[in-house]
């Protein structure tokens, strides 16, 4: 099983949108996928219409090695399962801190399900916390949505520098997110990001109304707008990721 985390130090850059749509595209391409919603807002859980409930709360989820398996729910899409989030996850750092080897904890919990899935997606809240350290230790790759703003490159560089000191750091797979190609400045910033960021995935995700509808439709974009540029972009983005990690 490969573990991919949608992560960014910044909030509001499209992490959950990426997690939901790439998890769907991965399952559509034949992978057995587990999406673990680690964000107490539970937006990914909501998008798959699953009840926001962690049995026993985050304390049991983190403390009991068997609890992750009992919190798995099938989504309405073949091969795609989810561990939902609830508001108790706001105390994730606290309970990680109480656990044995907190940095390794998320990896240890996922190990129990490693034979059942090909890919685990971790949808992470923003920020640099103990939870994100544990995610870095578990993840083979970080999927980093990068919006076309002048500060985004700096944030990405900060993440690269931070991970450089880690033993066995995850691969950073950054890509441009929420791009509005009608705006000249954004087009210019995308060009600059592409030129300045080594290994940037070639597919950019557009900022489109189809994506905004996810909260209404409660489904991945490709389910309700299969021919939309956003759906096609997420499909291509998954192909980019798969080519990097499986070829």
């Amino acid at each position: 099983m490969k573990t991919l985390a949608t992560y960014s130090i910044k909030g509001g850059v499209g992490k959950t949108t990426t997690a939901v749509n790439l998890a769907y595209e991965a399952s559509r391409a034949g992978a057995r996928v587990l999406l673990w919603d680690l964000d107490p807002q539970g937006a990914a859980t909501f998008c798959f219409r699953v009840k926001p409930l962690v049995k026993g709360g985050v304390e049991r989820l983190i403390g009991d090695k068997t609890a992750l398996a009992t919190n798995v729910y099938a989504t309405d899409h073949a091969g795609l399962h989810i561990v939902p989030a609830d508001f108790s996850l706001r105390h994730l750092d606290l309970h990680l801190d109480d656990s044995k080897r907190p940095i390794r904890r998320i990896a240890t919990l996922l190990d129990a399900l490693a034979d059942l899935y090909d890919v685990a997606f971790l949808d992470c809240p923003p920020g640099v916390t103990l939870a994100s350290e544990s995610v870095f230790a578990a993840a083979d790759a970080l999927l980093v949505p990068t919006i076309p703003t002048t500060l985004s490159k700096r944030t990405l560089d900060q993440l690269s520098e931070f991970l450089a000191d880690h033993p066995d750091p995850p691969v950073i797979l950054a890509f441009v997110s929420m791009v509005d190609r009608r705006k000249k400045l954004q087009r210019q910033l995308v060009t600059e990001l592409t030129e300045q960021t080594r290994g940037l995935l070639p597919t950019a995700i557009p900022n489109a109304s189809a994506v905004e509808l996810m909260g209404v439709e409660r489904a991945p974009v490709a389910v309700y707008a299969p021919a939309s540029p956003s759906a096609l972009a997420f499909r291509q983005l998954w192909a980019d990721v798969a080519a990097r990690l499986w070829n």
Partner: protein, 516 residues
């Protein structure tokens, strides 16, 4: 993980009764449509043996579904039916299939059609919490007169995390409606009804034997089983469905030769003389094709470490290998389609089927099989050890190849008569023998592949190949030579691990049990 589907049928009730009962629980039925499901597996049932099931679902499109007990089902849409794992797009689905199938082709094991009505139960958030599929007019395709398949079947799927609604549906269908619960799902029920063995064909040389039986009967049983393997793999070899058909046919032919040679005092002398020679001739024709198959299968692992540029420069070499393989295969096919081959197999089958026809029984024909086999194994083992101890730093490659033949003879005897030998001691000496064989195989493959590469280099040079190609051939040749030298350096350790007192003790224990 959720369990497999729970399945019901009934002679008294109709599909409409099941759909109506499900509707009472809140299930909403979708329009019915015809679905054809095809079970795919390799000729030797590798997916089945690995606890997996690959299904092609033909409905609105072509979907491949890879599932199994306690396995999260994976689904992928395809444009056409894949012939092997290599036909699928890169990704986890292909990786999982390739890990089990390797180079084996996929076959349609069973095709089942039905009129399917899918019913779904959703919660207040419109999330699916249970599904059921009613299959009416279930028919096995491409097979006449299948009588054992129920006319209709309803499957209730439990969805991970939502056990309760599925349990309620099962209770209503089973207890209230009185449907009969049946094991399996549509495909396994249809397979059982049609008498389809999902295990596939086994090329295993092992047959049940009794050490006290007359040696001639034991040898004949082993040879009959090998003849079945040759016949089963014959057409697949001609059609070149996948390289394993030729491999299994070749091994069965070589095992036949070994058993015939080792049975020279058991089998009728005329049989030993004729069959030995003719199977040797057939076996030698399979050699060049197999060598080139192995070369092409290993091509990527040989060339990838040299880098993309070298791989591109070596493409003319790969093309020559493929062409030579095609030519060697054509020669083999011509031989297999010849009257001589047909006569060989017909005469062989006739002798195997007619135990009373042995006019001149051989001297050991009526001896106890166990005693004869024990003696043969001990003799071949002694030869292997004797020859192995003579191998030194300057031994010619041909002598090492002869040692490989000794090892193969011993292995074939052990495999073909495995049912006579106690498992634990047999494993104790087969393990180091196998390790030795692997080493000898690596050495031989490298030897043959270096010689082939040199011949191709000469051919391409005369045709004016580019300097890039000639340089890349040099790189590849060096790499193959490194493999050869590594295998040669490893030989002493592998042989020493085989030539031990503990191996001999284990063998003695196994053979003593045979002679009791």
């Amino acid at each position: 993980m959720s369990g497999a589907a729970v399945t019901f049928t009934s002679r008294e009730r109709d599909p409409a009764d099941a759909i109506s009962a499900l509707a009472g629980l809140g299930f909403v039925a979708e329009p019915s449509h015809t679905v054809t499901r095809t079970l795919l597996d390799s000729f030797d049932g590798r997916l089945h043996a690995a606890g997996l099931r690959l299904e092609l679902n033909e409905g609105a499109g072509l979907d491949l579904i890879l599932s199994g007990l306690d396995v999260v089902p994976a689904r992928v849409r395809v444009d056409s039916v894949p012939r092997s794992a290599a036909d699928l797009a890169p990704g986890p689905f292909r990786t999982r299939l390739a890990a089990v199938l390797d180079v084996r082709a996929l076959f349609a094991v069973l095709r089942v059609t039905s009129t399917q009505t899918r019913a779904t139960l959703r919660d207040r958030a419109a999330k699916t919490v249970a599904t059921a599929s009613v299959h009416d007019d279930v028919r096995v395709l491409d097979r006449d007169g299948v009588a054992g398949v129920p006319r209709w079947i309803v499957e209730v799927d439990e969805i991970e995390g939502y056990a309760k609604p599925a349990r309620q549906a099962r209770d209503v269908l089973g207890e209230q409606l009185g449907l009969e619960r049946v094991d399996g799902d549509v495909l396994t029920i249809a397979a059982a009804g049609a008498g389809v063995d999902l295990a596939g064909f086994s090329s295993s040389p092992t047959v049940p034997l009794d050490p006290a039986m007359p040696a001639i009967d034991g040898f004949r049983a082993v040879l009959a089983n090998l003849a079945d393997t040759i016949v089963a793999n014959w057409q697949g070899t001609i059609d070149r469905v996948d390289p394993e058909f030729l491999h299994d046919l070749r091994v069965a032919v070589r095992r036949t030769r070994t058993i015939v040679t080792q049975g020279k005092r058991v089998l009728p002398p005329a049989v030993v003389e004729q069959a030995g020679e003719r199977f040797a001739a057939l076996g030698s024709l399979t050699g060049p094709v197999r060598d080139l198959d192995v070369y092409l299968i290993e091509w990527q692992s040989y060339t990838e470490p040299l880098g993309a540029d070298a791989m591109a420069a070596l493409e003319p070499v790969r093309a020559v290998l493929a062409r030579r393989r095609d030519e060697a295969h054509a020669a083999l096919v011509a031989a297999m389609r010849s009257d001589a081959a047909a006569e060989l197999m017909a005469a062989w089958r006739a002798w195997l089927n007619d135990p009373a026809g042995d006019e001149v029984p051989n001297v050991h024909a009526d001896r106890a099989l166990g005693k004869v086999v024990a003696k043969r194994i001990a003799r071949v083992h002694a030869t292997l050890v004797e020859d192995g101890r003579r191998i030194g730093p300057d031994t010619a490659a041909a002598e090492i190849h002869d040692l490989r033949k000794d090892a193969k003879k011993l292995r074939y005897l052990l495999e073909c008569f495995a049912s006579l030998l106690p498992k634990a001691p047999r494993k104790a000496f087969v393990r180091p023998l196998k390790a030795l064989q692997d080493n000898l195989g690596e050495h031989q493959d490298a030897e043959v592949h270096i010689a082939t590469l040199r011949a191709i280099a000469g051919e391409l040079h005369d045709l004016g190949a580019s300097s890039d190609t000639m340089l890349a051939i040099g790189q590849l040749s060096e790499r193959l030579d490194q493999r050869r030298l590594a295998a040669r350096a490893e030989f002493d350790r592998r042989f020493a691990n085989y030539d031990t007192k503990s191996t001999r003790r284990a063998m003695r224990t196994a053979l003593d049990a045979l002679e009791e």
